[in-house]
């Protein structure tokens, strides 16, 4: 039976087993997701998408469509007024392609009609002529001009190259024993179960209402404002209930811009819902990355210096690409002390759906190689892989070579825990044939230290109000994408105000109603919105205490809290919360406080130092116990032990759910998932049989151990849990496969056919 252990009794928040506040709506079918909502007189939008990966758009004729039954609006051309994009320095997207299409599925024409059926029927009448170009499928300097994805881009298909060096590289490699390894990490998709959907209404007064399945309403608002050239305040972006994100709903997409434009054109609300196929084309998932690492090792297995090169296949547009590129080099030093470190990263344009952030953003791929590399190094040095890692752990309360400030770290305990629970020492090397154990570590940010666009403003804002009904309202821009962010806010508020959680309502993900929170990405919500909420709630608590003391004629120190009540022991007076609230409103008018959170300043001052800093880092370790079936090539994962340091767990069941979800997603990445393409640029299978994610029967026993101490910077001591536990699973499984059958795989995913090929090769190698 899969279990969740805790190594020691940990300080936990009061309400640590509170069920999610949205669970009932979700089990009764009441929760409304973007596609579930209908606005009066709503029209249906449909996008005609390029059937080619790379082509010039020669002609678009939409005239035949106007006047067809039900058709309300047809648009082509660039659509957006200005190019937009999530990163200020790479604004390279338009809602509709005008001159060129750069991936199969890129939208070219948008149609709105009374019914979806009519929109689709009209679409079949639109004539788009293409001049098909050879697809660009791999990073690298193209041989001809037509193989330039964006001919106007100054560095050709090279989107961006970054190069960082810290410490004495030459000295580190001098006379040292070195090892080099390479790996190709295949790209993969988020596969949130909910396909994206948007509902947009350009109102007669020029205000724009958007309801969209997004993780970051604030960024969508900003990008829409740019794409449409309207002031931000005219646009309101609301995220309804979201059916999973994992990074896949973190920026504005063509369908969102198109829905707004169609609505402007026809004067009615327009809904666009993506099919599963379209989701695979919209993508912005994990980058495929080719990587090389070379490490110099000193006596006793201490790392002296490391070179790490990454080459990211970025797809057709920038998306978060700059950040992704830096992330492929940023977090290697957070787990292991690397005195000298050189990182070179390149991201290339190709004619595939753009890549961007997916759970573990940019750190998952290099983490896989780094951990595989350490294992192979340990083997060469005849060291135990865990011992080798222990030699090199980055200590708590230290600064890494690339200027990242590590505060608390439970990485050593993570390793201890998975080592002990997996029976590593007794079992490794003693297992039956074809069975193996593998280990890996990882760490992740608790929110990026810098925002996507530079600004000195808080990353998260909260407005808290207490009503005379005794209820508390918390307004915050964050989005609950399923991770339970709203519930955490309720818990923190109730905790800080000393009240029953039933009194608290949260209003989130609405740029028209809530203070800005940057969004649900980079595991930042609990840390940042949590701290902002605590600040607002503590201010409210102080205000109410002040009022209570004043009305009861005592000093504030004489007022105690007992349950929800305000107690003055010396006067033997008890005043219920509801009365104090009414007193306060009587004295001060409607009650409201605010809270905000800005991360501590980053230490690094170099170009690129904006990617990597975080208020605090989570740490994890994983041991995988697997058997390779040498007959059919299947890898059976028997057991995974995962230890994670997230500071104080705020809600046990939600923490467990995050870890399990991340771990299973990691298992999918290592064993089956591939956003891969045919030579003609077509996706290998943009559907859930072609792109396979783990089913319930593919999931092994997973034991979870929570370790670590409360993080002083985190709300009630908490750090991140949403992304970190995914990363170590992939290399742990690969290392276990090497341990089991002695094959060193060089790419993901490790499907049964790949295992059979590798075994076959091994067999032939032995025979020779």
């Amino acid at each position: 039976m899969s279990k969740m252990h805790e190594v020691e009794a940990k300080p936990t928040a009061l309400l640590d087993t509170m069920p999610r506040i949205d669970a009932w709506d979700k089990v009764t079918g009441q929760a409304l997701y973007a596609d579930d909502v209908r606005w009066p007189h709503m029209a249906y939008g449909f996008l005609i998408r390029s059937p080619y990966a790379h082509a010039r758009v020669v002609k678009v004729d939409i005239e035949a469509v106007r006047g067809l039954p039900g058709v309300l609006a047809v648009l082509c051309g660039p659509g957006s007024v200005a190019a937009y994009g999530i990163m200020p320095s790479t604004q390279d997207e338009h809602a509709l392609a005008a001159k060129k299409v750069c991936y199969l599925g890129e939208p070219v024409v948008a149609i709105a009609a009374e019914t979806l059926h009519q929109a689709e029927a009209a679409a079949s009448k639109v004539v788009v002529e293409y001049e098909v170009l050879r697809p660009v499928l791999h990073p690298g300097v193209p041989k001809s001009h037509t193989a330039l994805v964006h001919p106007e881009h100054p560095t050709g298909n090279l989107f961006k190259a970054v190069d960082l060096e810290f410490g004495d590289m030459a000295g580190g490699f001098l006379d040292a024993w070195t090892r080099e390894d390479r790996f190709f990490y295949q790209g993969n998709n988020h596969v949130a179960m909910e396909p994206h959907a948007v509902l947009a209404y350009w109102r007669p007064d020029g205000k724009i209402e958007v309801s969209s399945s997004t993780q970051a309403p604030h960024y969508v608002q900003r990008e829409l404002a740019r794409a449409l050239d309207v002031p931000d305040y005219r646009i309101r972006v609301v995220a309804p209930v979201i059916g999973g994100g994992f990074g896949g709903k973190s920026e504005a997409f063509p369908h969102e811009v198109a829905a707004v434009l169609l609505s402007r054109e026809c004067g009615r609300p327009v809904k666009i819902t993506l099919s599963r196929e379209e989701v695979f084309y919209t993508h912005r998932g994990r980058h495929p990355v080719s990587m090389r690492v070379r490490t110099a090792i000193g006596p006793a297995g201490r790392i002296r210096a490391m070179e790490f090169d990454t080459e990211l296949d970025g797809g057709a547009y920038g998306s978060y690409g700059i950040a992704s590129t830096y992330y492929t080099g940023a977090l290697q030093p957070t787990t292991y002390q690397i005195p000298a470190y050189h990182f070179h990263g390149e991201r290339w344009y190709t004619t595939k759906p753009p890549c961007g952030p997916k759970r573990g953003h940019g750190t998952t791929q290099p983490r896989a190689l780094l951990e595989i590399h350490l294992d192979r190094m340990a083997r060469a040095l005849r060291m135990d892989p865990i011992a080798l890692r222990r030699q090199n752990l980055t200590p708590p309360h230290s600064v890494t070579v690339n200027q990242l400030e590590i505060t608390t770290s439970g990485l050593a305990e993570c390793l201890d825990a998975v080592e002990a629970r997996s029976g590593w020492r007794e079992r490794r090397g003693q297992l039956e044939p074809d069975r193996g154990l593998g280990v890996a570590c990882s760490s992740y940010l608790s929110g990026a230290g810098l925002p996507i666009y530079w600004n000195p403003l808080p990353h998260s804002g909260v407005r808290l109000a207490v009503n005379r009904d005794g209820g508390v309202q918390v307004f915050c821009g964050l989005t609950d994408i399923g991770q339970g962010a709203q519930t955490i806010l309720v818990m923190l508020t109730a905790q800080a105000l000393g009240i029953d959680s039933q009194r608290v309502r949260v209003y989130t993900a609405d740029t028209g109603m809530t203070p800005v929170d940057l969004g649900s990405y980079s595991s930042r919500v609990t840390m940042m919105a949590g701290n902002a909420t605590l600040q607002a709630a503590e201010r409210m608590a102080a205000l109410l205490l002040h009022v209570a003391a004043e009305r009861m004629g005592v000093a504030e120190v004489d007022v105690l809290r007992k349950g929800e009540d305000f107690l003055v022991p010396m006067a033997d007076r008890i005043t219920p919360w509801d009365d104090v609230v009414k007193w306060a409103e009587e004295m001060q008018g409607p009650l409201s406080t605010v809270g905000g959170y800005t991360p501590p300043p980053a230490l690094g001052r170099y170009k690129g130092s904006g990617v990597g800093p975080s208020p605090a880092y989570s740490f994890s370790a994983c041991v995988a116990d697997i058997t390779v079936n040498t007959r059919d090539g299947r890898v059976t994962v028997h057991h995974l032990w995962v230890a994670h340091d997230l500071g104080t767990p705020l809600n046990r069941s939600m923490v467990e759910g995050q870890i399990r979800g991340g771990v299973v997603m990691g298992l999918g990445e290592v064993l089956m998932e591939a956003q891969a393409f045919n030579p003609d640029g077509r996706h290998r299978g943009p559907h859930l049989l072609g792109y396979r994610i783990p089913t319930i029967l593919d999931v092994p026993e997973i034991d979870i151990v929570l370790v670590g101490e409360p993080e002083p910077r985190g709300p009630l001591g908490a750090k991140e849990v949403g992304q970190g536990p995914l990363n170590p699973v992939i290399p742990a499984v690969i290392n276990a496969i090497s341990d089991a059958v002695g094959i060193d795989l060089t790419e993901t995913p490790i499907t049964p056919d790949r295992i059979l090929r590798a075994l076959h090769k091994q067999e032939r190698g032995r025979a020779q």
Binding site: R49, S50, P51, Y52, L104, G105, T115, L116, H117, E120, A121, S124, S275, R276, E277, E278, Y281, T630, R631, D632, G633, M672, R682, H683, R684, G685, P686, H687, L689, G690, R692, P694, T695, L697, D698, T751, P752, D753, R754, I755, L756, R757, L759, H760, E763
Partner: protein, 346 residues
């Protein structure tokens, strides 16, 4: 909504009306629809009329004929087969295959006839609409080329019925209804051309499947990526009957590697005439690998699928040998005494 092409549905109550309904231009049988409806949604099929056979009670029965043979109606659902009180005990290999099909919800809807007649699949065609819109039609879409096998002059799409190889291995027969009733071996149902993969005439349909009175011993192996839901990338079914200690009527069937299941006759002959030593089983598995020529139109890589054919045949034969030895007692001609527990290819 999707732009599924329009069609009419006719629901029949009596199979006698089937041939004439099927005679209508563009008519096609709708059984469980678990294969057909997704294909309609992706615009891979464009019938003008669907003949719903689920109301035909004769097609939904599991009976025993005068000679004591089980007869399963074409519209019996896969979960009906799994839930049948006695059938499973007699034909465990059939149950294994049925259980390997898709998922519980799909099996509750899918039929045995639909599974035998399931359309062939290919990674270059079973794709959603946008994917296909820029490609010239291939043979299976009435075009004149094949993306999976550019040199081939016909479609090599994959038959992914899990029950077909097993029913062939069992020696089952199919009642083909139509203007006239005829019984054929299951093997004879498949033409070998992925485009028009069944040998049924325009007014013909599968009416029932008849199982042999006594089931031979058999082993079924399905190879796919995930533990459930996925179509087979390779299917193997092997069966044999012990005749005074000697394995007879050996059938080795490999499927999901082309438009029709393939019997590995050379290997069948080999094992019919010599003891089942490890070396012979190994040889039989190599023969199987050499006899099939999968193209890269499945989900997993073609070299891996070829290797899997060998491994799975070896594994299945080894398991079959063990099963036969268990039932056949000592004085048999299996020659497997020197064998290890599991036949390891390495």
């Amino acid at each position: 909504m999707s732009s599924r092409p329009s069609f009419y549905i006719t629901r029949l109550e009596n199979w006698v009306d089937l041939p004439s309904s099927l005679g209508t231009l563009g008519a096609q049988i709708l059984a469980g629809g678990t294969d057909l409806v997704p294909n309609l949604t992706w615009e891979l099929a464009s019938p003008t009329m669907l003949v719903d056979v689920m109301g035909i009670s004769e097609l939904r029965e599991i009976t025993i004929d005068a000679e004591g043979r089980w007869v399963i109606g074409a519209a019996v659902t896969l979960s009906d087969i799994l839930h049948h009180p006695v059938l499973g005990a007699h034909y465990p290999m059939l149950v294994a295959a049925v259980h390997a099909v898709a998922t519980p919800e799909i099996r509750a809807q899918a039929t045995l006839g639909g599974n035998l007649c399931v359309d062939t699949r290919c990674r270059f065609r079973n794709q959603p609409p946008i994917w296909r819109s820029g490609l010239d039609p291939c043979f299976k879409s009435d075009g004149n080329r094949c993306y999976a096998a550019p040199k081939s002059r016909e479609c090599v799409a994959i038959l992914s019925s899990d029950t077909a190889p097993v029913l062939i291995a069992l020696g089952a027969e199919v009642a083909v209804g139509g203007p006239e009733l005829r019984w054929v071996e299951v093997e004879a149902l498949y033409s070998g051309d992925g485009h028009d993969h069944l040998t049924l005439g325009p007014q013909e349909f599968v009416r029932a499947v008849r199982l042999p009175r006594v089931s031979p011993a058999g082993v079924f192996r399905k190879w796919r990526d995930r533990a459930t839901m996925d179509f087979p990338e390779v299917d193997v079914a092997v069966a044999a009957t012990l005749d005074e200690g000697v394995p007879r009527d050996i059938r080795i069937v490999v499927s999901a590697v082309g438009p029709a299941p393939v019997r590995i006759s050379a290997a069948e002959v080999l094992l019919d005439s010599s003891p089942w030593t490890d070396a012979q089983l190994e040889r039989a598995s190599v023969m199987a690998r050499e006899a099939v020529h999968p193209y890269d139109n499945g989900q997993l890589g073609v070299i891996g699928r070829q290797l899997a054919v060998r491994s799975l045949v070896l594994d299945a034969l080894t398991a079959l040998r063990a099963a036969l030895m268990e039932t056949g007692g000592e004085q048999n001609d299996l020659g497997g005494r020197d064998s290890r527990e599991k036949g390891q290819p390495r």
